[in-house]
Symmetry: C2
Subunit: 95 residues, 2 copies
């Protein structure tokens, strides 16, 4: 009878929070920011401009901070940002 031995490798996954901020590249129209700036001026504030961006706070599991950052980079390219029109920044912290 053959004896099979099973080897169990335990990989410890940690929890990370990746903050991915997606904003329009400069040169693209920013109607929401312009509207906000206009309204703030009407309310009496000395505003020069307003830029609006979207921030995704993604809680994910990864082996290391570096891996979490690479994963967040991939997520941004594949789903959260459109590389044609958007810029994005990523900050990863361990939770």
């Amino acid at each position: 009878m053959k004896v099979f031995k099973s080897f169990i490798f335990s990989i410890k996954l940690m929890r990370y929070v990746a903050k991915i901020e997606v904003s329009l590249k400069s040169g693209h129209g920013n109607p929401e920011g312009e509207t906000a700036a206009h309204l703030l001026k009407e309310l009496g504030y000395q505003v020069e401009k307003v830029d609006v961006s979207k921030a995704y706070t993604v809680t994910l599991n990864a082996c290391s901070s570096a891996e979490a950052k690479v994963t967040a980079e991939e997520m941004s390219k594949r789903l959260l940002a459109n590389p044609t029109k958007d810029n994005y920044t990523i900050n990863v912290v361990e939770q």
Copy 2:
């Protein structure tokens, strides 16, 4: 003949950038974040949850960093956030 002296007070305004991040208070539904989390899982990522918030980057003039922060606080309460359903955080940097 009466002589009028004019005193000119020059107040130096500086340029500040206030980053105001507006997110839903916990307990409120977050359909956009849930959709993003669902899609990221379908793409094979080990995601626990996704929160989505809006970030306003406001370029404004003020006499000091403290004044800029008070102004940004007011802007948030009056226009950018809804205190009933939103939380907001403010970070001010001199430009």
